[in-house]
Amino acid sequence: MEAKQTTDQYYQAEEKQYSYLNLGPTHPATHGIFQNVLKMDGEIIMDAEPTIGYIHRAFEKLAERRPFYQITPITDRMNYCSAPINNIGWHMTVEKLLGVEIPKRVQYLRVIVMELARITDHLICNAVIAVDTGALTGFVYMFQQRELVYEIYEELCGARLTSNVGRIGGFERDFTPKAWEKIGRFLKEFPVVMKEFENLLVRNRIFMDRSIGTGGITAERALSYGFTGPNLRAAGVDYDVRVAMPYSSYEDFDFIIPIGTNGDVYDRFMVRQEEMWQSMSIIKQAIAKLPEGPFHANVPDFYLPPKEEVYNNMEALIYHFKIVMGETDVPKGEVYHAVEGGNGELGYYLVSDGGRTPYRLHFRRPCFIYYQAYPEMIKGSMLSDAILTLSSMNVIAGELDS
């Protein structure tokens, strides 16, 4: 009798030994809305159960109801830290479907915008790693620079975060002198701040102790999860879409692929840090090599005719109406186009049945893939590590749901 009671007690207590901690949906360290149910033994995490769906907005279904040009603002909202890459990636996908030839100048301008976006993305990620280790000041220094990039976006398209920059076939307008000036200013000021930020953290033992060996993942596991981008490179695999499958003339530029050794937080931090330097060098190369030419390709079926023509010319007005109504013909078929997004391979799988909207559109969102590996990466580590791992993977809530 007593023995039975004791065993019962034992099993009850076995359950009781672990406590469950709800990390999220709103927690200062989740940087977005997603939840983790952590099974904890004291401070040690025994298991984790990630939950997504808190900001489910049915992107893919929404996109299947919209003409191609209207899908661009939707892509903004995936990885909102580097929205221009999403936009331009989508444009390139449609151009691939249509088989449009893009002028060199447009390609170079796109490279500039995309690299700026990559810088902001990595900058946010690394600054947030700093915050999660407790050093707020570096974060503020870096965010001033992000402001400069956003001012460049503002000069290009009129918006800052959800940029909706560019159109199918090129840009909606040419870069203004003011935009060039702002880019120049950014390229001049940013390295100084980057150096400061690196001096604050990179060789600081407190930071190194916190990040080295935390949230590591081997190259094999990372590959089998489908990691791409900085997180895979941190694990030591030099896979970069810009080099592996060059798009938008990335083959013209000379840059290295930084890699880490065992994919821990420090590796990811350093890889992102180095990629920012590389991005800056790419931007400089692109500016130096920038050819003359138009700022958009010749795609009369998709690129709106100039306004003065529309106001005055019947032909142009008809085209205008046709494009806005989304009634231009597209070829049937399916394309997959991938760009190196801020966070990894951002893929667009587009199936077209020739109608005004995509028949099926799937976004390959890297964060969605990273987040699957999260429980494995934090098992057995401490709560502080878990938070650092999360921010170093740069899981953007907008990319989790589609």
Binding site: K16, S19, D41, G42, E43, I44, G380
Partner: protein
Amino acid sequence: MTINLFYFLSFVAVFSALLVVFSKNPVYSVLYLIITFFAIAGHYVLLNAEFLAAVHVIVYAGAIMVLFLYVIMMLNLNTETEPHKSNLLKFAAAICAGLLMIVLVGSLKGSELLQSPVMVHDVGLVKNLGKVLFTDFLLPFEIASVLLLAAMVGAVMLGKSEKPPANETKTSK
């Protein structure tokens, strides 16, 4: 003045000691015990043992009771975890304690005749205490340090689990 202080401190000590025993929640027990310790530290001050009073507060209230509280929090004990005890046992406990009390009363009867032979009370000062400690009691002092070391090692050994390193128990002092 002093005698009133004595009565007050004694009342606090006894009252909270009773509450240590009778409160259901172990956390309350710990807190009442801390109050008891403060009262006893007050008594030490009354007895011209300031140094001991300070050490008492630091060691007992500052370290040992924090350790207790730490363990209770870590194990997450509360009122419900207190196992039920039959009334018979409680009754027996009260009887035993009462008997002990009677024995003590018997043995202490007549102690009021004791009077202090000296009027100077300066042994409580750090200097005097240190002299005695490091001359007459040097060997016990060293042995005590070895004991503490052994206790520390033992506690760390016990606290280390075979499972992935969980909560390390740190010794105080």
